[in-house]
């Protein structure tokens, strides 16, 4: 209804319009009829429709009471025809940071502290975009509390199923506490009461709680930190190209999303902190990220690893597309301090990390019983540090109860945490891409693979670890910038790249990016593509993705700057889907969440390696194995059952001719 009215008024969009026009009143349009149906008596159709939210549920289902003393207006004003371009569209700096999550924040602040000028570009507003707003806890390693590095190392090695990058684990052990202290100093880790203890949880008063804790709120604080540290922020801007010139990186190009204005940033060094991506969200607030970083890296010729591992997040199947309800308290409450819980026993037990994936594999074949009317609330609590010292602040995660997730795969396309991204070499621990001046940091973009095949860092590990990566990349980028002079992007390059950026807007006909996204989701999201894989089905999906790549993506048409963003995101997502399928085809074994029906077993002989994709000479996608260090592969003398703590994929024991199970963990 409201959309109809918006479209009606789009032609005279400058004229604010309320209610229904005389014309449509007299002709009695179908939309008025729909409004009539909304209530048996009342007034003019359109005005009646305003009484209830557009297309929303009947008034009886509204919770938490009303808020207005006037008649409600649920109709939207007309969409403004255009948004003014930002005042500044060309930037120059020493270090350009792309992305404003934990990694980007630390990279920017660190580079500023090293005396370099910094511009930070974010697709949304730093603090509210990407995945960082949704963090729920924060973990660090504290030797003063008696933490033992060897246990952490063993836990990551076993839990990552023997392909975790242990160099990064050593770095984390050394630097995580410093990063925690730094974030605390910046004001990102305030302590305050949880919603349940302040009486906001009983009637789901999310808004009231947000208002009550606003002085502790870390989300708006990110912009203040950046401003206080002299970081110039360019927000709502999508970076589509990083420019390499004379063998080094010289800046980036993109566009301001609301206005479509082209943005240029000349820089001595670029740090990509843009995260990973998903295809389309359903119950997980991840859709702001769309594989923009690995798209850029791939087209610069860099190897991309870890795409075969999916992290199938869960949502509440009662409202499977609602990201907020299952995450609201996590989002609003303080970041819970975790850590100090590593022991020899937990390290050993983490070898059974495949259990997490096996449970999900079984669930997707069993389905779910119809809703019984309960909201399935669970605590999602984890105990705190085992140090026993009163001074230990790592008391665990005890957020207000959230509904239990039971619908898997709500973030299709999402990579396993801290595993996938641009591969920088086995010995890299700063995120240096190999192209002078270009660095990567953070989850989904830096292929540091500390997570191995199955992330077992523990709750709160990611926020801290990506901050460590951001800090190190920021230092390295600042160091590079201090030894190089600014070289501007050539105007011919800008002109040709900008024509490519705007190409979807200049097409006279083509396809909708939203439609293409639904198609992509339909190909990639089903469990038989993304959870339980086989060569046949992966090839079937690949054949469809290839067609989209060649025939749909080049013809996506943008009719607004908003659409232009969607077109570019689609291009990135389809490229990543191809990477995901080709990587999954190449890994002819099962490991972590990567389960192959035709290879339902761990093949330690052939696949203790990374699968990398790289752009070939002719532009085709090449796949290769990258062997890893021997000392990361665990003790070769251990038998299979010990190595994987007797947790088996469906069909794994049979395939490997192993003894009957000592315990039951799965059924095919």
């Amino acid at each position: 209804m409201a959309n109809d009215l918006q479209k009606d008024s789009a032609s005279d969009a400058t004229e604010p319009k309320q209610g229904v026009s005389r014309r449509s009143f007299l002709t009695g349009s179908a939309s008025v009829g729909a409004a009539v149906a909304a209530s048996a008596t009342g007034l003019l159709g359109a005005q009646q429709a305003l009484a209830a939210p557009t297309g929303g549920p009947p008034a009886e289902n509204v919770v938490l009471g009303g808020g207005s003393s006037m008649e409600r207006i649920a109709e939207e004003p007309p969409i403004p025809v255009s948004v003014p371009a930002p005042g500044k569209t060309e930037y120059s700096c020493d270090v350009l940071v792309v992305g404003g999550g934990f990694a980007g924040l630390m990279a920017a602040v660190t580079a500023r502290e090293a005396g370099q000028s910094v511009v930070l570009i974010d697709k949304g507003r730093p603090g509210f975009s990407g995945l960082s707003p949704w963090a729920s806890s924060h973990r660090w390693f504290d030797p003063e509390m008696g933490d033992k590095a060897e246990y952490v190392r063993e836990q990551m090695m076993r839990g990552g199923q023997y392909i975790a990058n242990l160099n990064w684990v050593d770095v984390w052990v050394r630097e995580s506490k410093g990063v925690y202290l730094k974030l605390r100093e910046l004001g990102m880790l305030d302590r305050y009461e949880r919603a349940a203890d302040k009486g906001f949880a009983d009637d789901l008063n999310f808004v009231g709680y947000r208002e009550a804790i606003s002085k502790h709120d870390r989300h708006p604080r990110v912009m203040r930190i950046l401003a206080e540290n002299g970081v110039e922020v360019c927000e709502k801007t999508m970076v589509t190209d990083v420019i390499q010139q004379g063998g080094k990186v010289v800046g980036a190009l993109g566009f301001h999303v609301p206005s479509g204005a082209l943005i240029t940033c000349h820089a001595k060094a670029v740090v990509l902190c843009m995260g990973g991506g998903v295809y389309k969200p359903a119950g997980w607030p991840t859709s702001g990220i769309s594989h923009d970083g690995i798209f850029i890296g791939y087209h610069l010729g860099l190897p991309i690893i870890g795409q075969e591992f999916d992290d199938f997040h869960v949502s509440d199947s009662n409202e499977p597309a609602n990201s907020f309800y299952p995450n609201g308290w996590n989002y609003l409450e303080n970041l819970w301090f975790t850590g100090g819980d590593w022991t020899r026993e937990t390290a050993r037990r983490s070898a059974s990390s495949a259990e997490t994936s096996i449970a999900k594999i079984n669930t997707v074949f069993e389905g779910l019983a119809p809703w019984d009317g309960t909201r399935g609330e669970v605590g999602n609590h984890i105990a705190g540090s085992k140090s026993g010292k009163p001074a230990d602040l790592r008391t665990g995660k005890f957020n207000t109860t959230i509904p239990k997730g039971d619908a898997y795969g709500c973030a299709a396309g999402f990579g396993m945490h801290l595993t996938n991204g641009v591969f920088c070499g086995l010995d890299d621990t700063v995120g240096y891409s190999g192209i002078p001046g270009l660095y990567v940091a953070g989850d989904g973009i830096c292929g540091g693979a500390i997570g191995g095949a199955q992330y077992t860092g523990g709750r709160g590990f990611t926020t801290n670890f990506v901050s460590v990566q951001g800090k190190r990349a920021g230092e390295a980028a600042a160091h590079h910038a201090s030894r190089n002079s600014l070289e501007k992007i050539q105007s011919a390059t800008i002109a040709s790249r900008q024509a490519a950026i705007l190409a979807p807007s200049n097409r006279n006909k083509g396809f909708s990016a939203n439609w293409a996204l639904d198609c992509l989701q339909g190909i990639m999201a089903p469990a038989w593509t993304i959870v339980v894989k086989s060569q046949e089905r992966l090839n079937a999906a690949l054949s469809q993705i290839s067609f989209m790549r060649d025939n749909v993506i080049p013809k996506l048409q943008a009719t607004s700057p908003h659409d232009l963003r969607l077109c570019h995101e689609m291009q990135h997502k389809v490229l990543q889907a191809e990477m995901k399928l080709r990587s999954a085809l190449a890994r002819e074994e099962s490991r972590g969440p990567h389960y192959r029906e035709d290879f339902p077993y761990r093949d330690d002989k052939n696949f203790l390696c990374y699968i990398a994709v790289q752009k070939g000479e002719q532009g085709q996608m090449q796949v290769a194995k990258i062997d890893i260090k021997e000392e990361w592969k665990g003790d070769p003398r251990e038998d299979f059952a010990t190595r994987y703590a007797e947790s088996y994929y469906p069909g794994e024991r049979e395939a490997l001719h192993l003894a009957p199970p000592a315990k039951t963990g799965s059924h095919a």
């Binding site: 009886e60 207005s68 207006i73 509210f128 991840t286």
Partner: protein, 344 residues
Amino acid sequence: MPVKRYDLNLCIGCRNCVDVCPMDVFRFHEGMNKSVIAYPENCQVCGQCYVYCLGHSLALSGESYSYPVTSVRAASKLPMNGQLYISRSPDSKFVTPAIAALIGSMGAHNALIWMGKAKARRQAQGPTVVRMDTNQRLQHLVMLISFLTLVFSGFAIRYSGTWFVHNLGLGVRLVGIVHRLAGLALMTSGLYHLAYITATREGRRLFRDLWPRWKDLKDLVTALRHHLGAHVERPRFGRFTYAEKAEYWALFAGTASMGLTGTLLWAYKSAGSLLSFWWVDLARTVHFYEAIVASLTILVWHFYQVFLDPDAGPMNWAWWNGEISAEHYQRGHELDASQVEGRN
């Protein structure tokens, strides 16, 4: 699936939604100083706009359709996906009942005093005349109850989204049923009245006495001139004054037209396909605005005669026991005095 507008009136133009949305769903209308949910199809239901909306203008819907995830259960017979998350207004929980209690106690106090005084006044008045017989009083009572019910239920339906009606805790469906039943009662009493004024002697006499005459217009002019200070005598009335006649005929026409438009709206589906749909729109418009006119007429015109007219005392009791003070009647209806004497 997406963010919804709870009430655009509440948008204070803070732009938080535009700023925090990671999905570029919002635009801002500078002229209206309001945000615009421009691209709800790309909303990821992360709820950041909802919690940062300073005016509590936005709602979040839990409904979801056609979102493939790896496993979603079948539809349930229970209502699913219908939750609408809106901000709670801090006043609604405590303030409304507090106001109701305070004003209610004042009203109860005054009602008690009023009842006592009114009774005393009635007992003190001298001889009475019969103004309304039992049949007429019953007709009036049915109208009174159904009319008041129609006013309250009708406006409750019309303004179902407002906090006041919301806090009454009545569903739109229940109120709708009550409204229709009251409408039926009023229409039935109207039809009965038609029979009454044609088939009974008393009815025919009533109708004759209520029939508008040229004198009524002259009485109106004379009354206005008299009370504006001109040196003319006030008009002398028969059984019914021009004011009472006007009200009777307004009620007559109003009941007919409200009944007709109400019936049309009740049966809007068949009426909409039999007729053109704009008939329903027309009926809606007429029904609503006439409801306003009718309620205000009763309040301003009729209640004056019954309660506020200084001659009527605290209340004209005719509707209750049919009687009216002879003195009051004689003062207002001099030309009908013969009848008074005859009946006293």
